[in-house]
Amino acid sequence: MGILEVQNVNKSFGGLKALQNVNLDIEEGTIHAIIGPNGAGKSTLLNCFVGKLVPDTGTVMFDGKSLLGIKPHEINQTGVSRVFQTPEIFSELTVAENVLIPCFAKRDGAFTLNALSRVTGEVDVREKAEQMLIDVSMEDKKDMLASSLSRGDKRRLEMAMCLSQDPKLLLLDEPTAGMARADTNNTIELLAQIQERRHITMAVIEHDMHVVFSLAQKISVLAQGTVIAEDLPENIKGHPKVQEAYLGGAH
């Protein structure tokens, strides 16, 4: 029994079958990588988890509850956080404010008319946000506008925002795309640390095999909307179907 169970999910856009009978089982406390060539349906699948898309048929169960037909903010409140492919941060706010917002969301829920207290007076939330910034070693940048951060730092900030909610499941959509090798290694280290310290379940979509094989405890391979293999990393490399569909016989 996994924390996230996906059964027979189908999704088509017009004539295009983006997902066909996808079954996926993510176990609690593991890092599960979802890989596949471009257009395999990885992001579509992730969108079905967070409420951006609703599957045509099938079920998505998180922690024993169905996620279908629930709004994104409600799904988030049940404990699913997502890091996007292009960082979605509050670019006109400071780094510190960016992390404060998820901390408030965690404490106060989806809506509170908290108009007469002061942000600076909310000591518990502030301390939590500051600790989070220290954890991702961004505390020296807390007064910078988020838009002025480097690309790598923006991703790091987005991860900090998601982590400060103590999610049960963290979804990462290509967390290292477009990063330099050094930044990629930093990110791998950061994710490994988080996993070790907080035991957060993670689902990672990734193209970079270096990242996948350094982090993942289990790998699902998606091709043309179907899961063609799901196995431990060491078995995936030699899997004939994977070699054929994904690595294109190059190995």
């Binding site: 967070v50 709004k71 994104p72 903010h73 988030n76 409140q77 956080s81 997502r82 996007f84 979605e88 941060i89 509050f90 670019s91 006109e92 706010l93 400071t94 404010e97 404060l100 917002i101 998820p102 408030f104 969301a105 965690k106 106060d108 829920g109 989806a110 809506f111 509170t112 008319l113 908290n114 108009a115 007469l116 207290s117 002061r118 942000v119 600076t120 007076g121 909310e122 939330v125 007064d143 910078m144 506008l145 002025s148 925002m161 909610q165």
Partner: protein, 398 residues
Amino acid sequence: MKHLSKTDKSTFILVAILALLAPFILNPFPEGSAMAQFNAGYPDLMQRFAIFGILAIGFNILFGLTGYLSFGHAAFLGVGSYSAVWMFKLLSMNIVPAIILSVIVAGVFSLLIGFICLRRSGIYFSILTLMFAQMSYSLAYSVLTPLTNGETGLQVYNDDPQYLMGPNSSEVTNLFGLEMRSTFTLDVGPWAFQFNLGYYVCALFLLLAFYIAIRIFRSPFGLMLRAIKTNQTRLNYTGLNSRPYTLAAFVISGMYAGLAGGLMASMDPLAGAERMYWTASGEIVLMTILGGVGTLLGPVLGAGFIKYFENIFSKINDTVLHTWFSILPDGLENAIVWVLHFFVGKGWHLTLGLLFMMIVIFLPGGLMEGGQKIMNKIRGKKKNDKDGGAKAAATPAE
């Protein structure tokens, strides 16, 4: 006051001093001098400064903080005015029930309109609000005549019931007997400073409105509104529901507009449909942009700026111009007056338009940005500009 940070406290005290001393500050030129017509220290105009200041502060909570450009805010102003005049007609000329009702009615009205309009954002939201405001205007002008008295405008008549009116009650708008029009004139040499009760009532409401706005800006709620402005997608995926936040901001700013409308009727117990016309809504947008969108003080400055132009520049006519340039040779005098003629009097919109263009192009942050630039220059010369640039970029204009 103890809930404000140091800078906010000093801003608030500055505004309080300016508001309370306005009769002096706005009246710098002696009576009877050639410059006397630039004086703005008369009750009628000072009241309008304060009332439109309240309106702009409220509008800024929606537009500046949340990023939703409402193009129909004058509707709430009009609704507030009508409610206030109805209170005068039904109860008495006391402004307290009138103002309370105008805020409540505007709040309910904005809840209804906001509930529908906030389903969309961006330009579609603006168009929806514009449409609602125009609809309200047309209704007030025609179909709802029993409620609004159509094109004549709603006013108090002798045969109105006025149930709370005693035999000694004042016949003009008052605060428990203190008449809004009562004015004390202080003559100091050639100056005549006018202290009007109505203005001070408006000014106190302005300070209250400003104080609440500061608290909202600095609260977690205000932080969420700013977050909505910068990235609503992220907000939704962070477990926050943006709909109630935007609706709350819309209702709060609608209530501010209702308060302004109620005060307007309290100063002069009349309400006409033209108060809801789309140009009135546009004027609110102009005020906020001119002063500085999303800043605390900007909207008040913008409101004062526009109202000053509307009332002062429009009074300058050709005769006045001729007296100014009478020392010049006749031909030159006539030529200058002919050119300036287009910019003053009825042509004041042209001057305002040019100024607006220049501010938007050179100072996109409005008058506040201009003020900040000047302050930075002064400070920069003192401190040799060590870290001024970096800090100015990090802290959004306040």
